[in-house]
């Protein structure tokens, strides 16, 4: 009875779909550019407001920046008149001729002009060392390390400082300046801080109480004070602590300060890496009869340093930025040369300072951003093993 009623009802239905519908594309507003806009920029009223606010900010800032750096910028000229609004009768942006004229000063400082090829050669050698060490698949990287840490420092000293016996007249470090000094300070800091930092980190984890105490005190002391005070200590106290006939050179004092400072920070980075190595690695190394140094050199440090490469590079970025502080103890690094050039009356205009600082900012940004991209690439490469 019931069944027949149901049958009766089904016959009433005019159409029954026997085959499934072909899937339809999603609504236009949910895919493609429109969907993306909706999901990422306009999903809620708050998001709409944020998008509009940020867009307005960008619409104000970006054209202003382009206007200053390119559209209204002065590209050629001799002296300040080219960049003065009152003389040119137009809006004035960046004053590039100031940079062109002062470029040699920014790069070499007051290094004697006939000797500047030596600086160029040093730059080239440094570039080779950096490329060799940074390219992880480079051939003979052990030779690269030898070149960067032994050959390069000796060559750099001979080239830059000069040795009269080789026919290279001595150039006093007072005359060094600009990018040259920045790169020298950064390279010395980088080259010294890693070995020193490793020693300090091992010292801090040592079983000998005296070694552990001395390392810990040094690390915590240096990390607890600002770099400026370390530099002041190196520049005003160091000369007091050595015999008078050994009066260290001003640049050398700053280098010592930077190297000590960076090594304390490096020590903590390396220590973190050492702590990340499982105990079994230490025990395994000891079980096959390796002594302390052999164990460290062959088993522990290669693994620890490998996982800390990104952090080491980050420390180097900090170090590179910190090299600007030698400015304060009277050394003509890149930033100081900009600072000196921008108050030169020959180029005194309202835009000179901003132009100089923009160039400095781009310089540091390129180096530091490059390093940070590199560290991220290495990180991704190291993580490849774990993502399988």
């Amino acid at each position: 009875m019931r069944r027949s009623a149901a049958e009766h009802e089904t016959t009433e239905i005019a159409f029954v779909r026997r085959t499934p519908l072909a899937p339809q594309p999603p609504p236009k507003t949910m895919t493609g550019a429109l969907g993306w806009l909706r999901a990422n920029l306009l999903s809620t009223p708050l998001n709409v407001a944020l998008t509009v606010g940020v867009a307005l900010l960008l619409a104000f800032a970006v054209p202003e920046l382009v206007r200053f750096l390119i559209v209204d910028a002065v590209w050629t000229g001799e002296g300040r008149d080219a960049c003065l609004e009152s003389v040119q009768h137009r809006e004035i942006g960046a004053c590039w001729p100031f940079i062109w004229e002062r470029l040699p000063y920014f790069i070499y400082g007051s290094y004697p002009i006939p000797e500047r090829w030596r600086v160029d050669l040093f730059f080239a050698m440094l570039a080779v060392a950096i490329a060799w060490l940074m390219w992880l698949d480079a051939p003979r990287r052990d030779l690269g390390v030898f070149y960067a840490f032994v050959v390069l420092p000796i060559c750099a000293y001979v080239l830059l400082h000069g040795v009269a016996a080789f026919g290279l007249p001595v150039v006093d470090t007072v005359l060094w300046g600009g990018v040259l000094v920045t790169l020298v300070v950064a390279s010395v800091g980088i080259a010294c801080s890693l070995p020193l930092g490793i020693m300090l980190a091992l010292g801090r984890r040592s079983r000998m109480p005296a070694v552990r105490l001395l390392s810990t005190v040094f690390i915590e002391f240096v990390r607890g004070v600002p770099l400026i005070t370390v530099l002041f200590m190196a520049s005003v106290m160091l000369p007091l602590f050595v015999p008078q006939y050994l009066e260290p050179d001003k640049l050398l004092r700053a280098l010592i300060g930077i190297a000590l400072f960076a090594s304390a920070y490096m020590a903590e980075v390396v220590r973190a890496g050492l702590q990340a190595i499982p105990r079994g690695q230490y025990e395994g190394a000891m079980a096959i009869g390796l002594r302390y140094w052999a164990m460290m050199r062959l088993v522990i440090l290669p693994q620890a340093l490998r996982i800390t490469i990104p952090n080491i590079v980050n420390t180097y970025i900090g170090l590179f930025k910190d090299t600007t502080l030698v400015f304060i103890v009277g050394i003509f690094d890149f930033l100081r040369t900009i600072e000196v050039a921008r108050i030169d009356p020959k180029w005194a205009t309202p835009v000179t300072s901003t132009t100089g600082y923009a160039v400095a900012a781009i310089f540091y940004l390129v180096f530091c951003y490059g390093m940070s991209r590199y560290s991220r690439a290495v990180e991704a490469r190291l993580a490849a093993g774990e993502s399988r």
Partner: protein, 397 residues
């Protein structure tokens, strides 16, 4: 080392120079001897060099008359009558002032940027990321010089001061704010604020205990607001508004009255805030990302709204990850405030390691005192941090 021990077991006592304990003692002895020799040499040289240069040693200069002016003093100070010791305190207070203000501002900006980087809004997230990448990769010193020399020094001069809303003025001599005048009766407002703060704190504790015991929630936010804002405001009104403002007046050659904020302080605050905020943003982002996704999902499946989830589930767990690196950013900011010396803000380093060192020539004492101050700040902070860490650390089963 273990090899020596096994061998020793097989063949009897090893030679004494192969005993690891004796070796380790010998190494440590040699290290200490070398360090002691270096220190002795340094001290002997220093004494010799100082005597030759006719520089006094010791801390006698502390009570000598300073004779130089300081552009910003939070405590009474005068060039004629004040001592070097007084100058030290002035400099230290200026350092603490800029560090305190910088920490508050950088935290606010840093949290905003950090959260913006995680926003679902693509444009906002990309802009925040751009901010962090650019600011982090430019040296702080360069940023300070930019704010001071390129921005603040190129502001209009006194005659064309920019009038800001609220009666403030901005020109190339600094920022001029209305100065508050505390009239008779304001002390009661301060007392009321203190009482309100204590009451709110007590109420918060009581509410938490009750919630843990019975599960009932109290309107903590409203009660806190009433205690902290309402009570002082009511007393303020009852005492007849005992506060007036001394507004700066634009004169022809100077701005008269008001509260003057040095351009150096403004530049330093700008630089430190913007620079440190970029680092704090990364700390905040990492902290929030460190909270496992399952936590949020579990909260949603319990029926908590997104706002409550953030407040009750994500933030408390993220703070555990955020606070230690955040503290080290605060310490960095405090240490970085010493870059004030480059733009002439009278902080501890500028006053003490700069002027006092130049006048007295007592490098060892002056640099040592300065370092000791920063060291004390660092050590006290890490001590507090360790206590905090012990309290919030995950209790593992």
């Amino acid at each position: 080392m273990s090899m020596h021990l096994t061998r020793a077991g097989a063949r009897g006592r090893p030679a004494f120079y192969n005993d690891p304990r004796i070796r380790s003692l010998a190494y440590q002895f040699v290290l200490c001897a070398v360090i002691a020799f270096l220190v002795y040499g340094a001290v002997a040289n220093a004494v010799d060099n100082l005597r030759r240069a006719h520089i006094a040693s010791g801390f006698g200069f502390w009570d000598a008359s300073a004779g130089f002016d300081i552009s910003q003093t939070l405590i009474p100070y005068s060039a004629q009558t004040s001592t070097y010791g007084r100058a030290f305190w002035v400099g230290l207070l200026n350092t603490l002032l800029v560090a305190g203000l910088g920490i508050v501002l950088a935290t606010a900006l840093g949290f905003l940027v950090g959260i913006a980087r995680l926003s679902k809004n693509w444009l906002l997230a990309k802009c925040a990321a751009g901010y962090v990448e650019i600011i982090r990769n430019i040296p702080l010193l360069l940023q300070l010089l930019f704010w001071y020399n390129a921005v603040l020094k190129s502001l209009p001069d006194v005659r064309d001061s920019i009038a800001l809303p609220g009666g403030a003025f901005l020109n190339n001599r600094g920022l001029f704010l209305p100065a508050p005048n505390f009239l008779h009766g304001f002390e009661t407002v301060i007392v009321a604020a203190g009482v309100g703060l204590a009451a709110a704190f007590g109420f918060g504790r009581w509410a938490r205990r009750r919630q843990e015991r019975t599960g009932e929630r109290a309107p903590v936010l409203w009660v806190t607001l009433i205690f902290v804002v309402g009570l002082p405001a009511a007393v303020f009104a009852l005492r007849g508004f005992p506060l007036s403002f001394d507004y700066p007046q634009a004169g022809r050659f100077n701005i008269i009255g008001g509260f003057e904020v040095l351009p150096e302080l403004v530049a330093l605050l700008f630089g430190l805030t913007i620079y440190t905020a970029a680092f704090i943003a990364e700390v905040v982002r990492a902290g929030i990302l460190a909270v496992a996704r399952g936590q949020t999902e579990a909260a949603y499946s319990l029926g908590l709204k997104p706002g409550l989830t953030l407040r009750l589930i994500v933030v408390p767990q993220a703070m555990r990850v955020i606070v230690p690196p955040l503290t080290s950013q605060y310490l960095n900011l405090t240490k970085n405030s010493s870059l004030a010396v480059a733009i002439g803000y009278p902080d501890l380093v500028q006053v003490f390691t700069g002027t006092v060192l130049n006048q007295t020539g007592q490098a060892v004492e002056v640099v040592a005192i300065t370092m000791l101050v920063y060291l004390t700040i660092s050590l006290v902070t890490s001590l507090v941090m360790n206590i905090y860490n012990r309290r919030v650390a995950l209790v593992e089963r």
